[in-house]
Amino acid sequence: MYSSLVRLQNTFGFFTTVAFVVALLISASDFLSPRTPTVNVLKTTQLQTVKGRADYYSSKKEEYAIIKFTLDADLSSLFTWNTKQVFAYVTAEWPSAQNNNATNQAVIWDTIITAPSSDHLGNFSPSKLKRLRKSANGKGIDPSRGKLQLKNQRLKYPLTHPTGRLANTEDVQLKLHYNVQPWVGFLSWNQVQDWGKWKALKNGLSKKFTLPAIKVKEQAKKKTTRA
C-alpha cells in the first residue's frame, strides 16, 4: 500500500488542501478591511452632439455625443494587500425613449489602476513602468494611486446608440463604477448598499443632463450641399 506513488499522491493532496485553505483565508481577509470610497466631484463640463461614421468604411452616419467631464474621487481604501488591480470606469446612462424600464449604459472612460505588486503584469511602456515603480517607492501597497483627479476629461470611447440617434436625449447621467480584482478570491464591484465594513459608493452620479441638438451650423451646411 505504501508505495512511493501513494506517498506522492498524499503529499500532493495535502499540498492542494493547504493551498486552498490559505487562499480562502486570504480572500476572507478582504472583508476585514474597510472600504470607504468617496466621490467629491463628478460633473460634465462640455456637451455636444455631432454626426459621424463608425469608421472610414461605413456609409452609415450616426450621431455621436462629445462629453467632457471633471472627476474627483478617492478610491484609495480599496487597496489592500490582496488587491491586484482596481478597474475604475465612468458610464453614461439614460432611460430608453419607448420603454421606461429599458436602460442604456455605455462606458465612456476607464482606467486600470494596478497595485505596485502587479505593475510588472500590466502592458505599460518602460517609461511608465519606471515612473510607477518610483512612485510606489518599494511599497507593496500604494493607496495614493486610488485618488482620481480628472479635469475636462474627453471620452475614451465614442458614445453612440444602435439606432444612430442620440441628439436631444434626456436624463443622461454619468456614473462612476469600480471593480476590485484580488490576487486570490472573488471579484467585487461598487455597491448600492453597505455590507459590513464595505460602504456604498455615494455621490457617484452626476446631475441629469440633456444632450444638445446637433449644431445648426452643421445642419445648414448640409442643406446647401444637398441643394
Binding site: 506513488l5 470606469y89 436602460t103 500590466g122 444602435p162 463604477h177 471579484l187
Partner: protein, 173 residues
C-alpha cells in the same frame, strides 16, 4: 498488470476502477455545469487581452445565472463568437436595452478598441445567449497553463500518456 492478465477477476476490477474515475470526473464537470448554468463552467484564459487582471493560463470559475440582476456594464463575461467555439474573456462596455435582447458590446481591458472586429460578419453586438459565463466569480492563477502547454506542444501529450502508462504497468497493487 502482467499478473492481472492471468487473473480475469482482478483485471475486471481494475477496469471498473478506471471507469469509475472517468465517470466521477465527468459527473463533477456536468454537475458544475448544471449548478452554474454554463456549458463550460471553467475556462482557461488564452490571450493577454485582459492583462493585468487575467494572465494567460489563469483558470476562471464562471457563473451564468441571472438570479437577482442581469448582465450589466463592467462585468467580465465569457462569450463565444457566433459559429465559433473559442471562448473569449472580455468586459462588457455598453449595454442598450434590457432582457435577453439587450445589445452588449465588449472590450478587453488591455485592447485599444472594442470587439466589433472580433465578432462574426454582420454581428455588431452580442446578446445574452452568446454569453456562456455571465460573470467571472473567482479565479486561480496559472493552473490552466497545463492545458495551453498540452495544446501548443502536442509531443507533451505523448510524453504524459507514456508516463501514465508506465505508472500503470509498474504499479504493484
Amino acid at each position: 498488470m502482467l499478473s492481472a492478465l492471468g487473473n480475469p477477476r482482478q483485471a475486471a476490477a481494475q477496469l471498473m476502477n478506471f471507469g469509475l474515475i472517468l465517470s466521477t470526473a465527468f459527473m463533477m464537470w456536468k454537475g458544475l455545469s448544471v449548478i452554474s448554468d454554463s456549458p463550460s463552467p471553467i475556462v482557461v484564459v488564452l490571450s493577454g487581452s485582459m492583462e493585468p487582471a487575467f494572465q494567460r493560463g489563469d483558470l476562471l470559475l464562471l457563473w451564468n445565472r441571472n438570479l437577482f440582476t442581469e448582465t450589466s456594464v463592467g462585468e467580465v463575461v465569457v462569450y463565444n463568437v457566433r459559429d465559433k467555439d473559442i471562448p473569449i474573456v472580455h468586459r462588457v462596455i455598453s449595454k442598450f436595452g434590457t432582457g435577453p435582447t439587450a445589445k452588449l458590446l465588449t472590450k478587453g481591458d488591455n485592447n485599444d478598441s472594442d470587439d466589433t472586429k472580433l465578432y462574426a460578419p454582420g454581428q455588431n453586438y452580442l446578446v445574452r445567449e452568446d454569453i456562456i459565463g455571465r460573470s467571472v466569480v473567482g479565479y486561480m492563477p496559472f493552473i490552466g497553463y497545463v492545458t495551453i502547454m498540452l495544446s501548443e506542444h502536442p509531443w507533451m501529450k505523448t510524453v504524459m500518456l507514456g508516463i501514465m502508462g508506465l505508472v500503470v504497468v509498474l504499479q504493484r497493487e
